[in-house]
Amino acid sequence: MKQFRGRCVVPGTIRAEALVSRGGFNTLASFQKALMFKDKDAKCSDQNNPDLYGRPMHNKALCLPQTIGSTTGGMVLCTSAMLGQQPACLLFSKPIDSLAAAGAILAYVWSDSPMPTVDNLGDEFLAFVKTGMTVSVGEDGVVTVE
């Protein structure tokens, strides 16, 4: 078990199974098919992301460095929350990017399904956490990985 302290961007507590993307997470490419085909599991459709391609993202603790790609990204994340397909939480090793922040904040202000979001967890966090591990997020930005 190991604890990491980050910055709380969107508050909330949650415990979920980790899903780890080592490279940048392309939000549109990842959620595109899930949104279009109403895939409740939200299987990742980004063919360029070998860590996540084909894996369900719904209710997972999505651990990533940052998001990349289209500026629809925030809207896509927010829509996934409004449709009940969202990750359980978003955990960033680096400072959060503007698209992911928009998605997390839009979901917090405009939907009933907020995604607790923590950034600045550090490279060590992403090096330690593996897909399938259990992750707990506290209100204070402390993330416990076991």
């Binding site: 961007v9 990349i68 839009l106």
Partner: protein, 426 residues
């Protein structure tokens, strides 16, 4: 750090103009505070640009949110353009594909009505290249914008010298509604400093789409200062250079998350400030021919049959300039002549802004291109490829952005030309 708001901004946040506008302001304040913004600054660009242009039936929550904005009187204080429409009957599609399109984009008409209420410029304002002269949403140097669409934002920042963050869909509309945006990132002098020096050391002018892809994948969201490219592009931002940078930038933004680049000796800030734009401790990335080949070879081929004959070709993501349309027309004409053909060997669609399309169709090249069997459309090819029946087809493109988001396979302009004129995919 809490943001300091003006009394007017504070009163909106506190609900003086209703709950909806308060939520808009709350969203912008939270967004800004996440990035350490201490204040809002006025949007000074004349027009906005929004990324959400498609009436996808499954995006019901977005339309509900738009209804909430309209009902709450939270309309844009400035007119705006939007990304391309998804559909055009002139783009090849069979009956089944058309049926799926009808279902997929069943909300298009309703959504466009919402956009009209919110403040869309006009019915031709649907393009990802709103900054083209023919379209007229061209910001001035130093303008503060509330835009989304990654390729438009990176172009406005880099080539036009405007100031805009990589805003998400919906957030950009909120900035146009509020008339202000949080001051952080690419709006600040510090945020426009380059964290990377990129040295281009290729033997010939690199393909814009592959160079942009390589740099995007390397620097991710950072600002690169690119040296050695002016050797190929010159020191004047003429139409050819601007078209190259449009395609280059779109690849940096979709293969990475670049919102601003500087090209030494060419782009406005690089010309004015030179290497003073490079931050201390900037990292260096050298791009040579071997590196470009490595990057290109890393692209996955997701066609079911990798040797399939292409059934469709898309050129123009982002939308083509009129100069690019003219050049392609001449190149295809020469290629067909050489191959002894009158029409293209692969169904081919060139995409461009509605206003550019109208201007091009009035030229001799416009007639010539049509006579060679090439369709000119103003759709978003990405939205076409989102149709699962279209996504299964072997489609080729010279757009790295389209490659990134769909099953379309990337080829260089020269390879595309050979394929559509000779029917041979190298």
């Amino acid at each position: 750090m809490a943001m300091t708001l003006t009394p007017e901004q504070r009163s909106i946040l506190d609900g003086a103009l209703g709950e909806t506008r308060a939520k808009v302001m709350k969203t912008l304040v939270m967004y800004g505070e996440t990035f350490g913004a201490t204040k809002m600054v006025p949007v000074t660009g004349e027009f906005g640009h929004i990324v959400t242009s498609f009436g996808l039936s499954v995006m019901k929550p977005v339309y509900k949110l738009m209804d909430e904005l309209i009902a709450g009187g939270a309309l844009a204080g400035q007119k705006f353009s939007a990304d391309p429409r998804p559909l055009d009957k002139n783009v090849p599609a069979n009956a089944l594909q058309n049926l799926v399109f009808k279902f997929m984009y069943g909300k298009q008409e309703d959504y466009e009505k919402q956009l009209a209420q919110l403040g869309i410029l006009d019915e031709d304002a649907f393009t990802c290249t709103c900054y083209m002269d023919e379209v007229g949403n061209t910001p001035k140097e130093g303008d503060v914008l509330s835009w989304a669409e990654s390729s438009a934002v990176v172009y406005a920042n880099s080539v036009l010298g405007a100031r805009c963050n990589r805003n998400s869909g919906i957030i950009e509309l909120f900035g146009s509604i509020a008339g202000c945006v949080p001051y952080f990132g690419l709006l600040t002098d510090e945020g426009r400093k380059a964290a990377w020096i990129v040295d281009v050391k290729t033997a010939q002018k690199p393909e814009a789409q592959i160079l942009g892809s390589a740099i995007g994948m390397k620097v991710m969201e950072d600002v690169p200062y690119v040296r050695g490219l002016d050797k190929f592009l010159g020191s004047e931002l003429n139409d050819e250079a601007k078209a190259y940078l449009k395609d280059f930038g779109a690849a940096t933004a979709s293969n990475g998350a670049v919102g601003l680049y500087h090209i030494a000796g060419l782009t406005p800030e690089a010309r004015a400030q030179g290497e003073a734009l490079v931050a201390q401790n900037a990292k260096t990335y050298v791009v040579d021919d071997a590196e470009l080949m490595r990057v290109r070879d890393s692209y996955p081929v997701v066609w079911k049959d990798p040797n399939a004959k292409p059934r469709l070709c898309f050129v123009g993501c982002p939308h083509l300039s009129i100069g690019q349309l003219r050049q392609w027309t001449h190149d295809i004409e020469a290629g067909l002549k050489q191959a002894g053909r009158a029409k293209v060997a692969v169904p081919t669609v060139f995409t461009t802004a509605p206003a550019v399309k109208k201007a091009f169709e009035k030229t001799a090249e416009g007639e010539k291109l049509a006579s060679m069997g090439v369709a000119v459309s103003s759709i978003c090819p990405l939205m076409y490829m989102n149709n699962p029946l279209c996504g299964k087809m072997p489609v080729i493109t010279s757009s790295n952005k389209l490659r990134t988001y769909t099953s379309a396979r990337y080829h260089t302009d020269a390879e595309i030309l050979a394929c559509v004129t000779k029917g041979v995919l190298q």
